[in-house]
């Protein structure tokens, strides 16, 4: 080997070891070994004495006292102690106690424990001398012939000795073994990770030292199993909501880290930092209260600072925890660390999706408005790229009508809009007995609203995209509609051909007269959930449907807004409304809900206003003759949406029709009168109840053989009234044209 290479190799090793030695808390390790040796020696001694002497013998005084002190010291130092005997070895919290060098103890202790079927003890707190004597007495009893371990545990419980847990025998796991698939089962991996999160939270909150190794192992396992991207929509069972959140943030952070191409060692550190990012909430003040939101990062740092010994991973972890709620671009302050900026993103994303119940894509869209200020633009784009057009958890509909949930993002740019899904609902909405997992990137199946694959746009510029101005009068959140794909064409105008029910799978198009009413009717009939948005290039209207009923409406017209309605109805003053708006904005809450909370409105009054608002919007949009529309699947109201209990669609339609003043619009909407009218069998009873005399009169003439023109004539209604009645019957779905 060339001399220069050898020198370089030695220098590298020297540097590594010097760095590692400088970082190790040798004092702690030596103390653990020394005290651990004492502990084993003392424990072994008192257990053996228990076979020979009665517990009230003075001979026990000194050893029990010494053992109590030893346990107390170690518990103060390390927290929960895990004392494990295996073969002739003894391990104290993963550290091997060198019994063989100093002679005796290891094998004897193992033998003592083995009498009761044990392989170790877990000690949660330093016991009193009295409790220790009781423990010795338990061990001194003759082991039960059957199930000695269970018997001992029962005795320990009866005696109230809850400071100690009896552990079964241990063995080294063999290579290749799978304990019920434990080593490879993703659920088990996540369960272990979740347990590590909860254990760390409890341990730190109770004043014990951090042991990062279990978390690091968990992160290593998650990375090896690809769990940063698989199954993000499903949480492991049995964890607290906060632990579940922490685990999701960890996985999202690893996903983003991979997307950014970070090195494996950095990913490990990132994952561990994420697992501890909220440990600050485990701290308690003197009154036993947890910290406020603003202080939990510092509290977390405070807890983590108890870990002694320098390590670069510790530094990264601390910076991440301390800075994970700091804006990414903090002006003249130091920029938060990379891991802190990543956690900021993934933490907020998870909270927006899970707690504020935003649709994943919506959450990303709103976060994008703060790119370059709260969020690092590059990292945010990385998260968008990683999560894909349909982030995990998004519900999508296939072209064939079946519904699926996204379980993993697609890999790479080409699969940005082709994620991995599990199809779990049939076209009729019923649940399928078994979900079918499909990687759309490798499947011919298409989503019903899928745009054609496009190459990714050029690299993101340093400047973030200009944020849409925040319209604080906008009650509903609207997303900029994507340009319609070239493959889709607008539905034919009504008068040009027989009108089939609108194919709502083609959910975008150009507005012509009568279309809005038909759209609303069809959405109601098909019990769809999502947003119907109308746009004429200047004005926009939106209706939120849940199971076919309109629950909320939004408009860019000021007089349609809740605030305007409140003033018009003289229910409150402008100042109160402004205060409520500011509060709603800050807390990301709906304006109406805030007003109810403030006591300005009764819930019934809010409901009344929301219905009035919806009628206004529907009536308005029913008169539109041009513009475009599109419908977006999804049933989650937005963060700031006041939601009604559900307005009667027939009532809305009826009102919309009656709102049309221009007879030409009516004439245009009813189309060719030479067509035969037939009654709809599944017309709604509620719609029937809403019929006025004109509609009733016309309906009586509909027999399935008579053309519309003749039916109108036979009804005896004046032409304008008759045509309006016909439009109402068509819009309510009570009649339709044959063929």
């Amino acid at each position: 080997m060339p001399e220069a290479d050898l020198q370089r190799a030695q220098e590298r090793l020297a540097h590594t070891l010097e760095r590692a030695r400088a970082s190790e808390d040798r004092e702690l390790m030596n103390r653990v070994r020394d005290e651990g040796f004492q502990l084993v020696h003392l424990l072994n001694g008192v257990l053996r004495m228990g076979h020979l002497h009665s517990l009230d013998n003075r001979a026990f005084d000194a050893p029990v006292r010494d053992l109590a002190r030893a346990l107390g010291r170690l518990c103060d130092l390390l927290g929960t102690l895990s004392l494990i005997t295996i073969e002739d070895q003894v391990y104290l919290n993963e550290v091997r106690i060198r019994m063989d060098e100093r002679g005796g103890g290891g094998r004897e202790l193992g033998a003592e424990l083995a009498l009761h079927g044990l392989g170790g003890l877990r000690v949660h707190a330093g016991p009193s001398e009295g409790a220790l004597r009781q423990l010795v007495a338990c061990f001194a009893r003759k082991p039960a012939e059957k199930e000695p371990r269970a018997a001992l545990r029962a005795v320990l419980r009866e005696q109230g000795l809850d400071f100690v847990e009896a552990l079964g025998p241990f063995r080294f796991r063999l290579g290749g073994e799978a304990e019920s698939g434990r080593a490879r089962d993703p659920r088990q991996v996540l369960q272990r990770a979740g347990a590590a999160v909860e254990e760390a939270f409890q341990a730190l909150g109770h004043g014990r030292l951090l042991n990062p190794l279990p978390a690091r192992r968990a992160v290593t396992e998650m990375l090896a199993a690809g769990l940063e991207r698989e199954g993000l929509e499903v949480d492991p069972q049995g964890l607290t909501p906060h632990a579940t959140h922490t685990l999701r943030v960890t996985r999202l952070s690893l996903l983003l880290g991979r997307e950014l191409g970070l090195a494996e060692s950095v990913l490990q550190d990132l994952g561990v930092a994420a697992m501890f990012h909220d440990v600050g909430y485990s701290a308690r003040d003197e009154q036993g209260r947890p910290p406020a939101f603003g202080h939990h990062p510092s509290q977390g740092a405070r807890l983590l600072l108890r870990q002694r010994g320098f390590h670069l991973s510790k530094v990264r972890r601390l910076r991440a925890v301390l800075g994970h709620h700091t804006p990414a671009e903090a002006g003249r302050r130091r920029r938060p660390a990379l891991m802190a900026r990543i956690l900021r993103l993934t933490d907020d994303y998870d909270n927006l999706v899970r707690r504020a119940r935003l649709a994943p894509a919506q959450a990303l869209g709103r976060m994008a408005s703060a790119a370059g200020s709260l969020y690092d633009s590059v990292l945010l784009q990385g998260l968008v790229n990683a999560l894909g057009a349909f982030p995990p958890g998004t519900r999508v509909t296939l072209e064939d009508g079946r519904s699926a949930v996204v379980v993993a993002p697609g890999r790479g740019a080409a699969a940005f809009a082709r994620p991995v899904i599990v199809i779990d609902r049939a076209a009729d909405g019923s649940r399928l007995p078994r979900g079918e997992r499909v990687d759309l990137a490798r499947s011919p199946l298409r989503l019903h609203d899928e745009p054609p694959a496009q190459p990714p746009e050029p690299a993101a510029s340093a400047a973030p995209p200009p944020a849409a101005p925040h319209d604080d009068h906008f009650d509903l959140v609207l997303v900029e509609p994507a340009p319609p794909p070239p493959s889709l064409s607008a539905p034919p105008p009504l008068e040009a051909a027989p009108t089939p029910p609108l194919a709502l799978r083609r959910v975008r198009g150009e507005i012509v007269q009568g279309i809005p009413i038909r759209l609303m009717h069809d959405l109601h009939r098909e019990k769809r959930s999502g947003r119907l948005i109308f746009d004429d290039g200047g004005q926009r209207r939106a209706l939120l449907f849940v199971q076919g009923n309109v629950v909320a409406a939004a408009s860019t017209l000021p007089e349609h807004r809740l605030a305007a309605l409140l003033l018009r109805a003289d229910l409150t003053e402008l100042e109160t409304i402004e205060r409520a708006q500011a509060d709603a904005l800050r807390r990301v809450q709906p304006l109406g809900a805030v007003l109810v909370e403030m006591g300005v409105l009764e819930p019934e009054q809010l409901e009344m206003l929301l219905r009035a608002q919806a009628r206004l919007v529907v009536s308005d949009v029913a008169t539109w003759e041009d513009g475009s529309y599109h419908f977006e699947d999804g049933d989650a109201p937005g963060l700031e949406e006041d939601v009604s209990e559900g307005l009667s669609m027939p009532g809305l339609v009826q009102g919309a029709v009656r709102a049309i003043r221009d007879p030409d619009v009516v004439r245009f909407a009813i189309g060719d009168l030479a067509r035969v009218l037939v009654r709809c069998i599944d017309g709604e009873a509620e719609a029937r109840r809403l019929l006025g005399p004109s509609e009733e009169a016309l309906l009586e003439q509909v027999d399935g053989r008579t053309p519309a023109r003749l039916a109108l004539g036979a009804s005896g209604l004046p032409p304008d009234d008759g045509q309006r009645a016909l439009l109402a019957l068509l819009a309510l779905g009570l009649v339709e044209y044959a063929g």
Partner: protein
């Protein structure tokens, strides 16, 4: 079933590896034996750091040996080298290729204990990856980093391309319990119900879509997380924490931050990042101003013998002190000079002493009195080093100290003293001191003293030198010294020198005319050397005359002197 491992008699191990007791040699085939030798080399190299510094020659030998053996093993394996990890053995294709039951020595046990069950090497394994594996194993053998990492996490982090492994959770608790375990006794802690609320105020949504991330942007992110950024990350962390301390509502307290501040200090020292350390000082000062604890502030305790000792370890063998270090020490409170002096006094290692001496020299220029006071009672190594430091820190005081030290018997010290005194030999006390050193027991000191005296303009020096030559000629004057003395005398006072040399060359007594005594010979030697340097014809004549009367070495010396005179004359003529 595998055959029992065949044990062979090992050849005599090298001295270095004798200290590292070798595991058994096993292997039932040539290939297996090659693999065994490779694994023994790997284990030995990883264990070497428990005994040797990484830069030690022995470690170099182990690494070279490992390189050779691992290549051979892969060559004879003819494909991937896939090892099964058992408790105390490593097996390849069912054959035991490594066995060691002593846990502290056993490579297999280390791997097994941490959960590694398979270790594989692929053909084309690069040396860099072998070195990476040695790094990881050496960390485990030396017992460092047990809190943060184990073998499995270290191997995962390394992301080797040609080294694979399979790991399981190391320990398994056996059996199902007949009853459920008792609950953990502590009251489980819950976060507050409104954790992470309020959510951030965000604007109306902006369209998002797939955009390729610029390679420069990704590179910048990777650089943030790279190893090279560790010093700045550490500094930023401490600054972040100190910022929190200045906010009285923040729950962090100085006691929380203090241990980390010192850990970062020690890390930055170990990395030689003194500039980064300096960045901390202003923030520590501000923090210290508000530190109401009874003990001294963090900054006040940032200095001291322990960190200075670390600094010396870092700078060992590096030569000069970095400028950044000196500026850092200026900024950090503490009596670094006193600390360095104390460390110097206690240190035995020559390379570390050199660093402390430099430190003392750099720090001592404003307080030379401290050095001179220490020097007054110092002996041996300490006196040498202190004097060397004083010579740099305060040259004038060094001269005064030299006058005190000249009688110390340490030749090295005397040499240093002469060197310092040489610069001031015009001063009578200095000249006397140097003259006194002409009687030193060490020839080097005497020679140095002679050279030092050549700069003197004091005629009394000439006389003293002449007397010295005459005395020394009877008491062990060496010819080299005689030459040097002759040259110096000639330089000090050419005329007097000619007369003196002439006197020495002309025998006074009959006996002197007949027999040249040793002492006379030495005087002649001195004279010839000196005459060779005197200009003019008279010295030339005298030399020629003596040439005819001399013999042996002295004759040769005369010739050489005459030849040199010719050359010098030619040179003078040439220049003229």
């Amino acid at each position: 079933m595998t055959d029992a491992p065949r044990l062979t008699t090992a050849p005599a191990p090298s001295p270095a590896s004798q200290e590292l007791l070798e595991e058994s040699r096993v292997g039932g085939s040539e290939a297996a034996r090659a693999v065994n030798l490779c694994l023994l080399a790997l284990s030995r190299t990883a264990r070497a750091f428990t005994l040797y510094d990484a830069r030690n020659q022995a470690v170099g030998e182990f690494l070279t040996d490992l390189d050779t053996k691992i290549k051979r093993a892969l060559a004879v394996a003819g494909g991937p080298l896939d090892l099964e990890v058992r408790g105390y053995e490593l097996a390849w294709k069912g054959d035991v290729v490594y066995v060691e039951r002593e846990r502290e020595r056993s490579l297999a046990f280390r791997l097994y204990r941490d959960g590694v069950r398979r270790l594989g090497f692929l053909p084309g394994l690069a040396w860099e990856e072998v070195l990476g594996l040695v790094e990881i194993l050496s960390l485990r053998y030396t017992g460092v980093r047990q809190q943060e990492d184990d073998l499995v996490t270290l191997l995962s982090k390394a992301s080797f391309k040609s080294i694979s492994f399979t790991a399981v959770e190391g320990l398994a608790e056996e059996g199902q319990d007949e009853e459920s375990r008792p609950e953990a006794p502590a009251q489980p802690l819950e976060p507050p119900a409104d954790w992470d609320l309020p959510l951030p105020g965000l604007g109306a949504p902006v369209a998002v879509g797939l955009r390729r991330l610029a390679p420069e942007a990704l590179a910048a992110l990777a650089a943030e997380a790279a190893d090279q950024s560790a010093p700045s990350e550490c500094v930023d962390l401490v600054l972040d924490l100190l910022d929190c301390l200045t906010d009285e509502r923040d729950p962090l307290e100085a006691d929380d931050v203090e241990p980390l501040a010192f850990e970062v200090r020690d890390f930055l020292i170990q990395e030689g990042e003194f500039g980064a350390l300096r960045r901390l000082v202003p923030a520590l000062e501000r923090c210290g101003a508000g530190d109401l604890r009874p003990q001294a502030s963090i900054l006040a305790r940032f200095g001291g013998p322990a960190p200075l000792s670390r600094i010396a370890q870092r700078l060992r063998g590096s030569g000069t002190l970095p400028e950044d270090l000196l500026r850092y020490l200026e900024a950090v409170p503490g009596d670094h000079l006193a600390d360095a002096l104390a460390l110097l006094e206690a240190e035995r290692d020559a390379t570390l002493r050199a660093v402390y001496t430099e430190l003392v020299a750099s720090l001592g220029h404003e307080r030379p009195r401290l050095l001179t006071e220490r020097l007054a009672s110092a002996e041996g190594l300490l006196a040498r080093d202190l004097f060397a430091a004083l010579s740099v820190a305060a040259p004038q005081q060094a001269v005064e100290a030299a006058l005190q030290l000249k009688d110390q018997p340490d030749p090295e010290l005397q040499l240093a003293v002469v060197k310092v005194l040489a610069g001031a030999v015009d001063q009578a006390p200095v000249a006397r001191a140097v003259l006194a050193l002409l009687g030193a027991s060490d020839e080097r000191v005497r020679t140095a003293a002679v050279a030092a005296l050549s700069a003197s303009r004091d005629s009394r020096v000439f006389d003293a030198l002449a007397r010295h030559v005459q005395e020394r000629a009877h008491h062990g004057l060496e010819t080299d010294e005689a030459e040097a003395l002759g040259a110096v005398l000639a330089g000090l006072d050419p005329e007097a020198a000619y007369r003196l040399f002439s006197d020495w060359m002309h025998p006074r007594t009959f006996l002197q005319r007949v027999v040249e005594s040793p002492s006379q010979r030495l005087l002649h030697w001195t004279a010839v050397s000196g005459l060779g340097r005197l200009p003019g014809e008279e010295p030339e004549k005298l030399l020629r005359w003596f040439l005819g009367r001399s013999s042996g070495d002295l004759h040769q010396l005369c010739l050489a002197a005459l030849v040199q005179r010719r050359r010098d004359q030619r040179q003078r003529d040439g220049h003229a």
